[in-house]
């Protein structure tokens, strides 16, 4: 058997390390504790011992969605950061009027799927989500009708957003009241 040991540099005893913490776990700790949450974003851990599952509430203070509160679930699996976190909009009843979020709560954000890279982190995901509320994107629609409206008639779209957040109904879809008091 080849003598590998001699290749090992003389490290002091401090090199002894046997953390039982997995790489994914350490990475999540690093990502979470370095989150730069603005006043418009809030995380909630229903089980604080479980860092892999939490919710994020976004309350935009500018733009068309100002005054609303939007809740997302964030689920990270043990293959993070090789795989992106799974993010879904989880309003009660899950109805939100947004071109990039469908009525099931699926979110169309490139870095959550096709453009995810391990160098991205939870902060990038949170910033990306926040951006969706400042700049809804009509080119990548999930809610086609909302996107159509945004493209054709911005005024009407704005009206619909306000109406939806008050709990009104648009084209037969009843939306959830999402305005914060």
């Amino acid at each position: 058997m080849i003598k590998i040991w001699s290749m090992k540099k003389n490290e002091d005893a401090a090199a002894k390390r046997k953390p039982k913490t997995s790489a994914a776990q350490i990475r999540v700790q690093k990502d979470l504790t370095e989150l730069e949450l603005s006043s418009t974003m809030k995380t909630h851990f229903s089980d604080p011992a479980d860092l892999l599952n939490f919710t994020l509430t976004i309350t935009p203070d500018e733009g068309m969605y100002k005054g609303g509160a939007f809740v997302f679930s964030v689920n990270i699996n043990t293959n993070y950061p090789h795989e992106p976190p799974k993010v879904k909009c989880t309003q009660t009843g899950r109805q939100i009027y947004h071109p990039n979020v469908d009525l099931e709560g699926n979110v169309c954000l490139n870095i959550l799927r096709e453009d995810w890279k391990p160098v991205l982190n939870l902060n990038s995901v949170l910033v990306g989500l926040q951006y969706l509320f400042l700049e809804p994107n009509a080119d990548d629609p999930l809610n086609k009708e909302a996107a159509e409206e945004l493209r054709k008639n911005r005024e009407q779209f704005l009206h619909n957003v306000k109406l939806s957040m008050r709990g009104g109904s648009i084209r037969g879809v009843q939306y959830d009241r999402l305005l914060v008091q």
Binding site: M1, I2, K3, I4, W5, M7, K8, E11, A13, A14, A15, K16, R17, K18, P19, K20, T21, S22, A23, I26, R27, Q29, K30, L32, T33, E34, L35, E36, L37, K42, T43, H44, F45, P48, A49, L51, T78, N79, H82, E83, N100, D102, E104, N106, V107, C108, N110, L112, R113, E114, W116, K117, P118, V119, D140, P141, L142, K144
Partner: protein, 432 residues
């Protein structure tokens, strides 16, 4: 136990004259490039044939080739782990299996086949997950070869072998040879835990699984794959709510296939089939028998060289690209300082049992040689103090006043992360 019975019944047959004639050409004399520690002749043969214990992880496409190669080059104590059972679609390349074996555990059938075919070789199978086994189990081997198809399993075995290294015990360093194939491409690498770059160091080199923009899937499908993703990503959760999709359940795949087919018809897309559906949701890349054979041969060649010191081993990454002709490239993949598994710094700290968490943090901040701002601390099982997000900061704040010794046992590790650290710092706490 059953070994004797299974070795073609004839114990004498185990070592007939010139059985290893060709292998012995290499082992009987040193060459110009052999390692100085090479013990030509009986010394090295005895190690290879009666002492060396090797573990093969995976008994699939690569695993079958690896097991056969090892047995025929003179390894006699082989262990094999695999959690899968044999599927009919495996039979075209996993040549240790026959139609009658469909449904049986791969590890067990492969072990029996090798023992029947190659006299004197003992193959010990384990039908289950690598995660079932503890450090003591992995400690018994001289070498580990992986023929896996999952990133997750590779990350696990890599981290386990890196953490196994004990600076006071040379035996704890187990060379890991990792093979992998994807269609006509493949790679073989030698990982010397804590010495060379590890699997985690190269995680960013991986091809990411193909994913399509969710809006394309939802609105403008153009490919059969878009229809299948629509069925699995959007329709399944909508229709079945919280029921989890099991990609190994034929009924689930059947439902996806039906749903995707209907979608494809609506958009006039052709090509949705059962096997494509299964391929897309399980992320299957067609396996090519010859790629497996080349990569397995390369892995076993490395195992042989490392076990015998008969020649210089691979340093440390060999890639094969067979898509256009046959191209291969070998290079040294470098260790990453900020690798979460083999990188990062470790510190021994001796503190008094009266020290509070707050005081420990202060010490970390003041320590000139580490220079960290705003450290967050945890053990493997609990959070000690988190700087963010606010909910966790508030929740862990009371710990600042507590004594470290109430939260961490003597000799235990604390994982420290901070934005100023490349990845993390491990503290080993001793109380004085």
């Amino acid at each position: 136990m059953a070994t004797e019975v299974l070795t073609n019944g004839d114990a004498q047959a185990a070592d007939w004259p010139d059985r290893y004639y060709h292998v012995d050409q290499i082992l009987d004399r040193p060459g110009p490039r052999t390692d100085p520690s090479f013990m030509a002749g009986d010394g090295v043969k005895d190690f290879l044939r009666s002492q060396c214990k090797i573990l093969v992880i995976g008994a699939g496409g690569l695993g079958c080739e690896i097991l056969a190669n090892l047995a025929l080059s003179g390894f006699k104590d082989i262990h094999v782990i695999d959690m899968d059972t044999i599927d009919i679609s495996n039979l075209n390349r996993q040549f240790l299996f026959r139609p009658k074996d469909v449904g049986k555990p791969k590890a067990i059938v492969a072990a029996e086949f090798i023992m029947n075919r190659v006299p004197g070789v003992k193959v010990t199978p384990y039908y289950g997950k690598i995660q079932d086994k503890d450090d003591d189990y992995y400690m018994q081997f001289n070498l580990v070869i992986c023929g896996l198809d999952s990133v997750e399993a590779r990350r696990w075995i890599n981290a386990t072998l890196v953490n196994l290294v004990d600076p006071e015990n040379p035996e704890s360093l187990k060379p890991l040879i990792d093979g992998g194939t994807e269609g006509f491409k493949g790679q073989a690498r030698v990982i010397l835990p804590t010495i060379t770059s590890c699997y985690e160091c190269s995680l960013d080199m991986l091809n990411k699984p193909t994913a399509f923009p969710i809006c394309t899937i939802a609105n403008t499908p153009r490919l059969p794959e878009h229809c299948i993703e629509w069925a699995s990503v959007l329709e399944w959760p909508r229709v079945f709510q919280d029921k989890k999709l099991d990609t190994d359940d034929p009924e689930h795949i059947g439902w996806l296939y039906k749903t995707a087919l209907a979608r494809a018809k609506e958009f006039k897309i052709e090509g949705v089939t059962w096997s494509l559906t299964q391929g897309v949701v399980k992320n299957i890349i067609p396996a090519i028998a010859s790629t497996n054979a080349i990569i397995a041969a390369s892995c076993c060649n490395e195992a042989f060289k490392i076990a015998t010191s008969s020649a210089a081993y691979l340093n440390n990454y060999f890639m094969l690209i067979g898509t256009d002709g046959v191209y291969s490239y070998t290079f040294e993949h470098e260790k990453r300082e900020d690798c979460p598994v083999c990188g990062g710094e470790a510190l021994d700290i001796s503190i008094s049992r009266d020290w509070t968490v707050d005081r420990l943090i202060e010490m970390l901040i003041e320590k000139q040689d580490i220079q960290i701002k705003k450290p967050s601390l945890s053990t493997a099982t609990k959070q000690i103090y988190f700087q963010a997000p606010p909910q966790l900061e508030e929740l862990t704040r009371p710990n600042l006043e507590k004594k470290v010794s109430e939260l961490v046992e003597d000799g235990d590790h604390i994982t420290v992360t901070a934005s100023s650290l490349p990845f993390n710092l491990t503290l080993r706490v001793k109380y004085v």
